[in-house]
């Protein structure tokens, strides 16, 4: 089985769950012997919402590369300013920023910068998405594959183009929808692209029943076309990290929020609950690990609530820092407003951290040994936080049973289900 896969992020250049999910799935497929050509956007050292580094112009046809550990996966990169999680405004701002930097580099405002390596620095996000699609189709002409697998909306035009040109079936994978990201104020053009992708595809994969329902009800996709494949989480094998090494002798409890600090993740509910908890308990600190468009607002909120001295912001964490912060935490809270799946709680459990998760999430469909709350129920979130911090048997039981339970949720199973879907789709064609 050979798959032409279109994704958005891949470690170490990740800014959220999408990259982790793509990595997990691809790694597992690799183990199953599925051959994957993974197409990625390439903006060197892209860090979300910070500055953009200068692009070295290259030919749009890049050579393929491989990661050592993945024998059956080849990577192809396409030069583009597109990044995961960007909204049209953010894209615009970053593009202008890049343009300024280029002008500075070539000596002042006099220079005209034409399209370099095909990138239109004067285009908007949508035209870039379609330009990307065209390049992807060109790339695909060189490749041999059986199915096309596209992750989230920005890749759908590319997926459709490749599928059309190659005549191979298209599978779209919904990791999130506009409704998750923007509530009810969806961006019409993004919605249209999402919808077109789902209708054009031969099969649709959703990361949870929660998401599947949105796909069926809000996008008008027929239910027999949509299948659920839960994300997984693998135990990190570099877990021989020694606690005493870090010199942690905590007398203070740490409650962790880890994720993009954006509306979808409910940071304000986390902080409101923190305030309630601090009303009855003193020796606890709240850590928000991540960055995002609501980061500044979150810092302000903490100050407004009068708990600024008890809330720490670490900024975006990657690699080993992520593990380290999990190891330091006594509790992980995910108060997401609308979470299609939610990989972070699984990672937390792998690191022996008990979790409180929003009922409005896909992961709450698969976890039993987690405390569940409605995201808006600040009282109940606070109630549960206090209980976990106060009663060691609760923390222990959640931790032990949760850690055991999460081992069932493996990427191998997700990859096998995808492989099954590929076969079924090919057979039906």
């Amino acid at each position: 089985m050979r798959v032409f896969m279109l994704g958005w992020e891949f470690p170490p250049f990740i800014s959220g769950g999408l990259g982790t999910a793509c990595y997990g799935l691809t790694k597992a497929m690799d183990r199953l012997g599925i051959q994957v050509t993974f197409v990625l956007p390439k903006m060197v050292e892209a860090q979300y919402a910070t500055h953009v580094n200068l692009l070295t112009p290259e030919s749009s046809r890049s050579r393929s590369s491989r990661l050592k550990a993945l024998k059956n996966v080849r990577f192809r990169a396409i030069n583009t300013p597109l990044q995961a999680y960007a909204t049209p405004d953010v894209y615009q701002r970053q593009l202008e920023h890049t343009l300024q930097q280029k002008q500075l580099a070539c000596g002042g405002k006099g220079c005209t910068i034409g399209p370099i390596s095909g990138i239109e620095y004067e285009g908007d996000m949508y035209s870039e998405v379609y330009r990307y699609a065209a390049i992807a189709a060109e790339l695909a002409a060189d490749e041999e594959f059986d199915v096309v697998h596209a992750h989230d909306w920005m890749t759908y035009p590319a997926g459709m183009a490749v599928a059309r040109m190659s005549g191979k079936p298209l599978i779209v994978h919904i990791h999130s929808t506009e409704f998750d990201r923007s509530g009810e104020h969806v961006n019409q053009m993004i919605y249209d692209i999402e919808r077109e992708g789902m209708h054009c595809a031969d099969r649709v994969i959703a990361v949870s029943h929660y998401t599947r329902n949105i796909v069926i009800n809000r996008y008008g996709v027929s239910s027999d076309k949509v299948e659920v494949v839960y994300n997984g989480a693998d135990r990190n094998d570099n877990g021989d990290w020694n606690l005493s090494e870090a010199g942690i002798a905590k007398d203070e409890k740490i409650v962790l929020f880890l994720g993009r600090i954006t509306m979808q993740k409910g940071p304000e509910y986390f902080l409101a609950a923190a305030k309630k908890v601090l009303g009855v308990m003193d020796n606890v600190k709240f850590v928000m690990a991540g960055s995002g468009d609501m980061m500044h607002r979150a810092v302000e909120l903490a100050a407004e609530f009068g708990i600024g001295h008890k809330v720490l912001f670490t900024g975006f964490l990657r690699g080993e820092d992520v593990q380290r912060i999990y190891r330091m935490a006594d509790l992980y809270v995910m108060p997401s407003v609308s979470e299609p799946f939610g990989i972070a709680p699984l990672e937390a459990l792998h690191n022996d951290v008990p979790v409180i998760i929003s009922k409005q999430s896909g992961v709450s469909e698969v976890l039993h040994h987690a405390l569940k709350v409605d995201f808006w129920d600040v009282d109940e979130i606070a109630n549960k936080i206090v209980a976990v911090l106060r009663y060691p048997p609760l923390e222990m039981t959640l931790r032990d049973y949760g850690n055991f339970e999460v081992r069932r949720l493996r990427w191998m199973d997700a990859a096998s289900t995808c492989a099954k879907i590929y076969s079924e789709t090919l057979a039906a064609v």
Partner: protein, 415 residues
């Protein structure tokens, strides 16, 4: 002879209301929900079943008999929420064909944690049964049929019980049959009646299971099984939850019709009859000694204590609860003592069970909480408040030795 000995367990806990760490008041129990449940079960089970049993008793003119064990916490709820059920129990008591058993008033696990409290609860229960139904119980059953040799010894020493009940678990009986009267190891006088779990569970669990090879179970078929005990047994101990009739087995399974025809079918065979537990031990001598050194129960497939004490949360909650005993009793405040006792009902710990095996479904159906963790959190929040009340009251008033002990004087453990 095959004497059918029916015993029905009748119980409802006083459920807790949602109680967070921010709640400060002393109202721990969800009266609204408890009243709803009580009335619902009254309509689906207690009333139709009591009426059926009454009818059968009258129809068979004293040849049909049963026994009940009704917990104190349920009696209180019935008196408040469904007094009509109480009048049917009164009527049953007056037939002379119904025996009432004794247990802990609060359906508690106090035997495991506080002998004194255990005895006080038994006393309170006996006194209540005598007051309400005019019977002095001679037969004892512990909460959830939790039993071991030590319990039997203790009950024997109280000197007002002749008989104790237990689960006829395979691992204590070995090759022997539960269809005889036995003597507990270490006892001289006390009799032991063991539940025939196969026949009891046929009615209580398998009755409506279409995949069971004996489905449908008719009264005639069951009566044949009972009759076949003749010649290798004397008693057929059918011990079960009363909610079998209407709740665990809904009316449309035909469970009431089954029961309606059962006495007739059983009595067709001249060697069969019905006996209450006391009558059974009066009629048949114990045939041997049963040794139960470790605790058993009638719960789940394991027949042990894991349903209530299987995880860290459960054992922590129960230890914290009994740790308060001295403090609570010293204060002598009636409402604090009562609240503390109602928290002892074993159901609270049952809800915290994390077993998800074959019996997990049984646990989940009757669980008012979404998860065992929620029930632990709720319970501990309540307990925390109770403890705070004790401390504040102890601090506020100088402790004098006012024992407002509402328990009747009486039965002391013989040393």
């Amino acid at each position: 002879m095959a004497s059918v000995c029916f015993y029905f367990q009748v119980h409802q806990p006083t459920r807790l209301r949602r109680y967070t760490v921010f709640d400060k008041d002393h109202h721990y129990f969800d009266e609204h929900k408890n009243s709803l449940v009580c009335r619902k079960v009254a309509n689906k089970c207690y009333l139709p079943a009591n009426r059926l049993i009454l009818d059968l008793i009258r129809r068979f003119e004293g040849r049909f008999k049963v026994a009940y064990s009704i917990t104190g916490v349920l009696l209180e709820q019935l008196q408040t929420y469904s007094p009509e059920v109480m009048s049917t129990f009164d009527a049953l008591a007056q037939t002379g064909c119904v025996e009432f058993l004794a247990e802990t008033y609060y359906h508690s696990l106090s035997f495991l944690y506080s002998r004194d409290e255990f005895i006080e609860q038994i006393n309170k229960h006996c006194e209540t049964i005598e007051r309400l139904f005019g019977q002095k119980p001679r037969v004892f059953r512990n909460t959830e049929l939790i039993y071991n040799n030590e319990l039997a010894g203790l009950i024997e020493s109280l000197e007002n019980f002749d008989t104790i009940l237990s689960e006829g678990a395979d691992h204590i009986l070995g090759y022997r049959s539960p269809n005889y009267v036995y003597r507990p190891q270490g006892c001289e006088r006390l009799n032991l009646l063991l539940k025939n779990y196969a026949l009891s569970d046929d009615i209580a669990f398998r009755f409506s299971n279409h995949t069971w090879k004996e489905w449908p179970l008719t009264a005639g078929k069951f009566a044949q099984w009972v009759s076949s005990v003749n010649g290798n047994g004397y008693v057929v101990n059918l011990f079960m939850d009363y909610e079998t009739f209407g709740e665990h087995q809904w009316e449309d399974t035909g469970i009431f019709d089954f029961m309606r025809h059962l006495p007739e079918e059983i009595l067709k065979h001249p060697d069969n009859d019905f006996k209450t537990p006391s009558e059974a031990v009066d009629s048949y001598e114990p045939v041997g000694v049963v040794d139960v050194p470790h605790l058993i129960s009638w719960a789940d497939t394991e027949r042990d204590l894991s349903a209530w004490l299987g995880n860290a949360m459960q054992s922590n909650a129960i230890h914290e609860l009994y740790r308060l005993e001295e403090k609570v009793k010293k204060l002598g405040d009636h409402s604090i003592i009562t609240d503390w006792r109602k928290l002892q009902t074993s159901d609270h710990f049952y809800y915290m069970c994390t077993k998800y095996f074959a019996d997990g479904d049984v646990h989940k159906y009757f669980n008012p909480y979404n998860s065992p963790y929620d029930s632990y959190i709720n319970f501990m929040n309540v307990l925390d408040n109770l403890e705070g009340r004790c401390s504040r009251q102890a601090g506020a008033t100088n402790l004098c030795d006012t024992s407002q002990n509402k328990n009747p004087p009486g039965l002391q453990a013989a040393s």
